[in-house]
């Protein structure tokens, strides 16, 4: 392990020279953890997450991460993450599909406990019949818990979102967990080019006293820190305190937007802002959408792409602005419920322009042709089935 020098997040994330590597998404997660000065990582295996947490285990063995263990199961892992973070540590874990749902009671309580941590999600089918493929319906369960949710399109995003995720989650005006989700296999087990800053640099350590909620480490006054845990007082107090506390959690969630813009260039990326027809997508569907946009342009069709990087906070204002003159909005997704289409419809005033799909599920790949079909329909072009490769 090379000696690592602490540098400012601004430098490491935005300015340091980068070198291009051809690596998998799992490796990209690990490369981010390597530079993030992580104290504790806790792992419980599930395909397709396991490889990432193996690599993080190697980082522990090499001394990059200070403590690491294989948990009893995901509920235990997610609870222990909460304990470690409340004790002042910087923590990382990751899981997939059924593992996420098993850990969900604990994960959904992280925002309320103000637990800044990074959780990697490598999507995988939930519900029967069994499959280990990268359907991303599980993200729907995460959207209403108060966590920051970023959705990575490719290996580069995985690296950037994860490294910046630690910094964003610990900002005093945010102080919430950050989820970095990406499609299992398609991203985690496939290689892509990733520009990496030097590995002999790392983020400053977590400062748990720079916080809206102090760590539980017996180092700060007053003595009676949790004396009046609200719920124990009366039902009235518990309604009131829960309500205002959760309101603050969601305000903090929205405040994260400026940091996501600062470190990751925005909640969305727009290709061809003057387009007539837009594809709006996140994660791997955005990669397919990008291809479709390119083909459409080659065919002389005025099509744009909005890639949503941040699902929470959701880019409502940004979408309204970009889509204000659109005549159709196509939302391709890797799940059966169409959670992103619903989000987009709720965000814009003229939801009738949203085309619900195309969608694939069970972990199938999303052929660009399916998106092209919707583009032709939007332009009123009648085509014999046309194959684009």
């Amino acid at each position: 392990m090379p000696e690592q020098r602490v540098v400012e997040p601004e430098y490491l994330i935005l300015e340091a020279p980068r070198e291009r590597k051809f690596i998998t998404g799992s490796q990209a997660f690990a490369e981010a953890v390597k530079r993030a000065n992580v104290d504790v990582a806790i792992a419980y295996p599930i395909t397709p997450q396991s490889e990432t947490m193996h690599l993080v285990g190697d980082l522990y063995a090499q001394g990059y991460v200070k403590d690491y263990y294989r948990a009893e199961e995901e509920y235990g892992a997610m609870s222990a993450i909460a304990g470690a973070v409340r004790g002042g540590a910087r923590a990382f874990t990751a899981t997939s599909g059924p593992g996420l749902l098993r850990g969900l009671e604990a994960i959904a309580s992280w925002p309320g406990h103000r637990i800044p941590a990074v959780l990697g999600i490598m999507t995988r089918v939930v519900n029967a019949p069994l499959s280990i493929q990268p359907d991303n319906v599980e993200i729907a369960y995460l959207l209403n818990a108060g966590l920051i949710v970023l959705h990575a399109e490719n290996q580069q995003d995985v690296f950037d979102f994860t490294l910046a995720g630690f910094v964003i989650s610990e900002k005093v005006d945010v102080y919430l967990p950050v989820v970095v989700a990406t499609e299992g296999f398609f991203v985690t087990h496939a290689k892509g080019y990733v520009d990496l800053p030097p590995e002999d640099m790392k983020l400053p350590p977590r400062d748990p006293y720079k916080a809206p909620v102090p760590p539980t480490d017996c180092e700060i006054p007053p003595a009676r820190i949790q004396r009046d845990a609200p719920v124990q007082k009366s039902n009235f107090m518990s309604y009131l305190i829960h309500a205002v506390w959760q309101q603050e959690v969601w305000s903090a969630n929205r405040r994260a937007a400026k940091w996501i813009k600062h470190y990751l260039g925005g909640l969305i990326e727009v290709v061809n802002p003057d387009a007539e027809v837009f594809i709006v997508a996140s994660g791997c569907a955005a990669a397919q959408g990008r291809e479709a946009q390119r083909y459409a342009t080659m065919e002389g069709l005025n099509v744009g792409l909005v890639k949503i990087k941040s699902l929470r906070p959701f880019p409502t204002n940004e979408l309204r602005e970009v889509l204000k003159n659109a005549k159709a909005v196509i939302v391709p997704e890797h799940n059966i419920v169409g959670w992103l289409a619903k989000e987009v419809k709720a965000a814009i005033p003229n939801s009738g322009i949203v085309v619900d799909g195309p969608r694939v599920y069970g972990g199938m790949t999303l052929p660009v042709e399916l998106i092209m079909d919707e583009i032709y329909k939007a332009f009123g072009i009648k085509k014999e089935k046309k194959t684009v490769v």
Binding site: D39, V40, A77, S79, G87, D217, I220, R224
Partner: protein, 289 residues
């Protein structure tokens, strides 16, 4: 809290709540109080909303008086009656989700060990039988298998008290409770043997009839956890509501159970035994001096 942080900055005494000033002046921070003097010093827990006459509440009061290092102790609890009093004490308290205590404590203790390698920070879980042995069973056992260095105290009222009296794994066989309309069909789980098998270095079973002994047991469990590994106390703390024990009879009930199935039992590894022998020899010498 490191003692320094408990102290009130000079000049601020008159602005601090009376309660806090008393706690710093007459409370147990920075000294070892004697449980037999309870009522004569400012206690860490005073008001609480547990049922009048609840023996679990009494046990918790003794627990706080017994802490060897209250200024550097973190208590973890979970859903269940105990947390009603735990959350009112002048010791940092963590409440997560039902049954998660031993996983949260594992993460917490590890973080504190990384951040304060040279300081003593005691971590103690105190939770109900349902929390530790039913819903949290896997996490309880695995924290022991992993030899996490904290103390687990099960306040066993043999029922789900907080949710209104349902059967728990620790209820005695045959007893009729809610959700066991025909009586419980299997035996009370042998938590003490499980703890020994799973790797606890100090294990005790106690019926709270003797405050001095409760305090000594708690102190031993915390000190052993600090140095050697997981420790466990199984305490009988009756629920006078769900078992219809009149308040004036809770002590008699505790004595009866002590004779039946809660006879005081203490087990520890040889290493821990040597440690206490050495410690107690030193303490005696101190007293002589």
């Amino acid at each position: 809290m490191g003692l320094e942080y408990v102290r009130i900055s000079p000049g601020f005494e008159k602005y601090m709540p009376r309660d806090y000033v008393d706690l710093v002046k007459y409370g147990p921070f920075g000294k070892q109080v004697d449980v037999m003097q309870m009522g004569q010093f400012k206690e860490l827990v005073e008001e609480h909303p547990m049922c009048a006459g609840c023996y679990m509440a009494y046990f918790i009061r003794v627990f706080y008086a017994a802490l060897p290092n209250p200024e550097d102790t973190i208590v973890l609890g979970t859903a269940g009656c105990a947390r009603l009093a735990l959350s009112q004490a002048a010791v940092p308290f963590i409440y997560g989700n039902y049954g998660d205590t031993n996983a949260v404590a594992s993460g917490l203790k590890r973080a504190l060990s990384i951040r304060f390698p040279d300081k003593v920070k005691d971590v103690v879980v105190i939770a109900g039988d349902g929390g530790l042995i039913d819903i949290g069973f896997g996490m309880t056992m695995h924290s022991w298998f992993r030899r996490e260095k904290f103390t687990t105290i099960m306040v066993d009222n043999e029922v789900y008290g907080n949710t209104g009296g349902q059967e728990s794994g620790m209820s005695p066989k045959g007893i009729q409770l809610k959700m066991a309309p025909l009586g419980k069909k299997f035996d009370k789980i042998n938590a003490v043997e499980l703890a020994k098998t799973a790797g606890c270095v100090y294990v005790a079973r106690i019926s709270p009839t003797n405050p001095k002994r409760i305090a000594k047991t708690i102190r031993r469990a915390i000190l052993a956890a600090r140095h050697f590994g997981p420790t466990f106390i199984h305490a009988y703390t009756s629920c006078n509501i769900e078992y219809s024990i009149p308040t004036r009879e809770v002590l008699a009930d505790a004595r009866k159970r002590e004779k039946q199935d809660f006879k005081f039992y203490e087990w520890m590894t040889d290493e821990v035994k040597e440690f206490f022998e050495e410690l107690e020899r030193k303490e005696k010498q101190e007293v002589k001096k």
